[in-house]
Point group: C2
Chain length 762, copies 2
């Protein structure tokens, strides 16, 4: 932190979007409507892998109020996708998962659209399907994509069989490493499908205008990516597509990709009417972008005193029927296998696999909880075996400032030791196995991790209005994290105004500067930096405007107290803005920021989009819980998070992020799972898909560590994703401490614990 | 013009907004709707001057579907206005003209709102009223505003009685001037109320959002002024008001001020629902912003050989009940009294007068047709009296390059002689009195004038998109003139792309840079210049980006053929834009332009907002017409306009502007008049208010003169307003040439001509 006292940044101020949201006046995409709009509904496959042998929409089309029905034959056969262009808008001849879109209806009411979907006649010829990753990799397994070799794709290595992507990282000499180990441990872990659980369903309203441009109001996290993706499937130049995000009720990485926007846009184009589509819970749990299931195998070798020497790891990651961000997520898993630990010899591989299940995505900290669950569970297993305290074991191995990461990149602003010690202290680590507790068994666990702050560029226009208020036009959406409040606090700080003086506008890709999007914990970080750049330019403009007026050097001009000051000269910011508007078009600036990509050793890495991390964050979760001795039910007594945030731009909203992340992590740890059976989701509703409620949540004690990053605004680091990484591992370790039972497959349901204890008791 | 060949600017290319408009897909403000919106309707006074003694809305409020009724007692008593803050949202205790708003209703349908307006009970106590300007100026005349002295106002001189503003210009020694004259002529002219005649009624849809901001979609010409005006009447900071102009079907100066936006905003605020209001023809003809009636007296002294020596002129201008832009229009009349003529001794005065009639505004070339009608009619009268050909008379007196205007400012890029000669040649001036023509009398007339290009600042954001297209975000609205196509042509020229590569967005005051607005013939001129500034900055950015890449000097980098070029290096603009987005936030620029205010002699001027003109334009209209010897009906045989446009950015749309202006001028000359009787409009409908139709229009022959201006883009001058200035005078002069009858009061109806000929025949 710099030496001067900050007025706005770092303060617990109220969110700029808060009042509208808590009073119910905020317009989310799902609230948005256009006059005369139609309602869209999707016909979805009831087979997991099948050929469509008949599709007859004539009865559906004859229903009064039905305006348009579209299927693959009505639109160009364009394949889209993130890593691999493998997905059609509508399944053409073949469906690849149960829930895949086959046709779409636009009608004057939702009820009519639903009736029309039911009235479409369809017949299938079943094809052999594959649902299990390991089965899918066997020779002779049914192929999810027969034409895989012909697709356009980013480099994903190994275009073969059901492999949609393969990445690796390696360093040292793995064989030599293992050879010198005192002991080598091998374990297998599995994790499940988890839905991001945003409160607002995915929504799109599309409308075509007189210039042949399409406007799409939707709740995407990435308006500029959405624009490009829609341009692709609509076969239009990107500049003919306008994406507006009125508001978004949570995203968590589940709203990065095309959801229903392309259906709405195609239906609107053909019906010549605006079309709105909102997903149902069933659609969310069968065709959304949940976290991928994984199978992780780890082989770790250590010295007698618990120093990590060598590790080999492999992640299989189940993309479902379409690759989407699976290959990238699989790549990120490699750094999670490394963990925040020095490991001289390592070899990590990840394989993204196609199966006949729903597609998957980049849920908050993609690959984070899966990799961390495996690594941090195994650390406890090894420490126990060696008779070393798990905290002590970690402290002996964690990164120190200046260490090299797995890609040979430099790890900087390292705070992992502090986070471990403070979380352990807070949870009362010395007494980590309190034992029996009135029909329950009590234990404590911890898990630590590291994460990156994603780069990419952010641009803002900042206008100082003639009434002294400030408008910031950003291409980044406020997805509910408070990140745009954070960026606004930084802007207010820099311009010497109050947070209440800052107005942030909705994103409109026709009007906003480019932003890489609300993903990867980057929004407050990158937009905040863009705001600093814009404010610097505005200070320069103001200095050049008032300097000659006052006969002072432009550089002497400061912004403070909503005014412009040099020596004894002072004008209000409003006066200067009005003066600029009269004489030169107003105080307007375009600020941009792009995080530099750090150097790394390319020989260590194969096929990784983010091999070297920047603005690393470090964090430890510690939990104190009790397990019912009969039912296996887990109740969490205390939960502590010690997270390095670099600089806490607004501690209140960072704590909110941590609490929310812990809630999602507890869900993944204990209860959430999209349960597939033979390609069918058994629990495609929010009664049977069990997210934690407020009643299930412990109070989360947040310890904010401020080890400044090199690039962040005032040293801030990305804070959004990390909090959901460690709960599964920390909870698994605490359950083991409490009960002696080690569950290596998520979720750790009460049933699994109870059964394991019965078995132990055998 | 510069020496290189232009590819885009100067070409007859199709309008960027053309296809949407001709196919009916363009969304005008009147087409705009919001879900759940209510419909607003205004209760208007049926008295011209009266005290409201009773206002009972209870029966109206009880009608099913009525949601809100507002009158003066329900909102803060704020007075607004342009020159004088004299106008309430709703008449409080006193109404000042017939048609004034007293209350407003919001209901679920327009029919219910209309029924509710009828159900409001109201009683008046009549007050003495004044309708005639000259009566209004007499001592003891009823006062339109008793509290005039207490109002906030710009300097308007003489806050007394019914005078809302007074301005003057004087130079030389008027008494000495008249003393040396050979002859002195004195004449009186009168002109009428004329409606701007835009095709789209004034419309507003207002909606309040969760942050307490109000968005108003409307068809204003001045979104930023509208924002400020609404902030005033809504008692909000300006930055809480957002004005969006989806589209606008003509303005002509009639959509500069608050129309129904404030009613919609107040109704929406109280009903907590969006509210839409669209004016009817009756409302347009009773409470809009028509051209002011004037009474003009001229006293002009000349030498024996027809050289102007001295002129005294006075304009009375009828503002109606509220001053609005009356004082400014009256001031502009002073330059029109001067005309484009050297006059060593002069004294001009204008007085804006309150009467109990509807308010008035700044219709296209405010004060232009009125002043020109008087001056150019009198020139012909004098020339005839002296036996000098009217063309020759004018040529002896018009400005030469470097002459001083009436404010002592320098008149530059003077082309009046060329325009006179070319228009006269084209109309066949040598045979200007062909005489009898089969039951008709035929004659030719001409009139010349000058005009300014209004200043004020314009800002644009220009983004080069990664697909190589260009988005321009401007605060200026396309009101139907093609001006934004002109600005886009300039931008395309500068960036080396095609016009089709440019996208212009709708204006949204939250997102667009400031613009002084679509008024004063300034849009293509100022926005075009802002585009040049933005393009220069983009060239700089591109040079700095690719220069180091190619190892060439950044200044060597050129933009041509949708590419970036230096020596043998070449990248497409799309590639460079994509590169910039990946490495630095994209190619974005903020360009601004503000026309410098020229110097003038302040001792010559009292109370004038635009004393010195810049980027002067010069123009002559010539008409060949026949008058029916029995009915007096005028039929126009040929119509020629020779207009100096500086540089014809797009000749087609300039010709369109000229044709439209001539149509409006012919209407003012021959048929249009809002007819008042005792404060009541007798012809408040479009059947009895007679605008020319296509059948009444002659083909207009356009001669575009290109005498480059100092400041305009490629030398362009403002072109929008001038074409409606001269038709009344040119037509009056031609009628006099044809018939010997001189009509000095507009409109010159067939009846007036026939009656005058009968009288002459007596």
């Amino acid at each position: 932190m710099s030496t001067y006292e900050r007025r706005v940044a770092g303060k617990r101020l109220k969110r700029i979007d808060g009042i509208g949201k808590v009073t119910g006046k905020h317009v989310y995409a799902s609230d948005f409507a256009l006059p005369g709009m139609l309602f869209g509904k999707i016909l979805r496959s009831t087979e997991a892998h099948a050929r469509i042998v008949r599709l007859d929409v004539s009865k559906a089309l004859a229903l009064p109020g039905v305006r348009t029905i579209l299927s693959a034959q009505d639109i160009p056969q364009i394949l889209f996708g993130t890593a691999v262009k493998d997905r059609p808008v509508f399944a053409a001849d073949v469906v690849r998962f149960r829930g895949e879109a086959i046709a779409a209806v636009a009608a004057t009411s939702l009820e009519i659209a639903e009736a029309a979907v039911r009235a479409i006649e369809i017949a299938y010829e079943p094809l052999p399907a594959v649902f299990d990753m390991e089965e899918a990799l066997k020779p002779g397994a049914p192929l999810v994509h027969g034409a895989w070799g012909d697709y356009q794709a980013l480099p994903v290595l190994d275009r073969e069989g059901n492999i949609s992507g393969r990445s690796s990282m390696a360093g040292g000499d793995i064989e030599a490493g293992f050879a010198e180990c005192y002991r080598v441990y091998e374990h297998r872990f599995t994790t499940q499908h988890v839905h991001p659980g945003y409160t607002e369903p995915r929504t799109a309203i599309a409308s075509w205008d007189g210039n042949g441009d399409v406007s799409v109001w939707c709740n995407t996290q990435l308006p500029f990516d959405m624009k490009n993706m829609l341009a692709e499937v609509l076969d239009l130049p990107a500049s003919k597509v306008r994406v507006v995000v009125p508001g978004i009720g949570g995203g968590f990485g589940g709203k990065l990709r095309v959801g229903v926007e392309h259906f709405a846009a195609w239906l609107a184009r053909r019906s010549k009417r605006p079309v709105k589509i909102v997903t149902t819970s069933e659609e969310e749990l069968t065709d959304a972008y949940p976290r991928q299931p994984t199978v992780i195998t780890l082989r770790t070798g250590v010295s007698k005193d618990g120093i990590l020497i060598a590790r080999e790891g492999r992640v299989l990651l189940d993309c479902g029927a379409y690759a989407n961000s699976g290959p990238a997520t699989a790549a990120l898993a490699l750094q999670m296998l490394a963990g925040p630990y020095r490991t001289p010899h390592f070899s990590y591989e990840s394989v993204a696999v196609y199966t006949n299940k729903g597609s998957t995505g980049s849920f908050r900290a993609p690959a984070g909880p899966m990799g961390n669950f495996a690594v941090e569970s195994q650390i406890d297993l090894i420490a126990d075996d060696l008779g070393i305290d798990p905290l002590e074991f970690r402290l002996r191995n964690v990164y120190r400032e200046g260490d090299k990461g797995p890609a040979g990149d430099t790890v900087s602003s390292v705070s992992i030791e502090e986070s471990l010690r403070r979380a352990a202290d807070a949870i009362g680590w010395k007494d980590r196995k309190p034992g029996p507790d009135g029909g329950k068994s009590r234990g404590k666990g911890l898990a630590c991790s590291w994460w990156l702050t994603t780069g990419g560029s952010s641009g803002v226009y900042v206008k100082i209005n003639p009434d002294g208020t400030v408008t910031v036009v950003s291409g980044a959406v406020e997805i509910g994290t408070g990140a745009m409040t954070g960026a606004a606090q930084i802007l207010a700080e820099e311009l010497g105004v109050d947070l209440g003086d800052i107005n942030a506008t909705d994103v409109d890709t026709h009007l906003s500067p480019y932003d890489y999007g609300a993903q990867g914990s980057r929004t407050a970080f990158s937009v905040g930096n863009a705001c600093i750049a814009a404010a610097q330019d505005l200070r320069r403009q103001i200095g050049e405007l008032v300097g000659p007026l006052w006969n002072v050097a432009p550089e002497s001009v400061r912004l403070e107290g909503k005014g412009v000051v040099s020596g004894n000269n002072r004008l209000s910011l409003a006066e200067v803005a009005a003066l600029s508007q009269r004489t030169g078009g107003g105080l307007i600036s375009h600020g941009t920021f792009i995080q530099p990509m750090p150097t790394f050793d390319p020989t260590r890495v194969r096929n990784h989009p983010l091999p070297a991390w920047t603005s690393h964050s470090f964090h430890t979760h510690a939990v104190d819980l009790s397990v019912d001795d009969v039912t296996g039910e887990v109740s969490i007594n205390r939960y502590v998070v010690a997270q390095d945030v670099g600089f806490a731009i607004n501690p209140t909203y960072i704590e909110g992020q941590i609490e929310g992340g812990v809630a999602q992590g507890i869900g993944q740890a204990l209860s959430e799972e999209i349960v597939y059976e033979g390609g069918r989701v058994l629990n495609a509703n929010l009664t049977d898909y069990k997210m934690p409620t407020m009643m299930d949540m412990p109070r989360v004690e947040c310890i904010l560590i401020e080890k400044p990053s090199v690039n962040g605004p005032y040293g801030a680091k990305g804070v959004g994703e990390p909090p959901c990484i460690q709960p599964p591992a920390a909870i698994a370790n605490a359950i083991a401490a409490a009960t002696g039972v080690r569950i290596q497959t998520l979720p750790i349901t009460a049933e699994k614990i109870a059964l394991a204890r019965l078995k132990d008791g055998d």
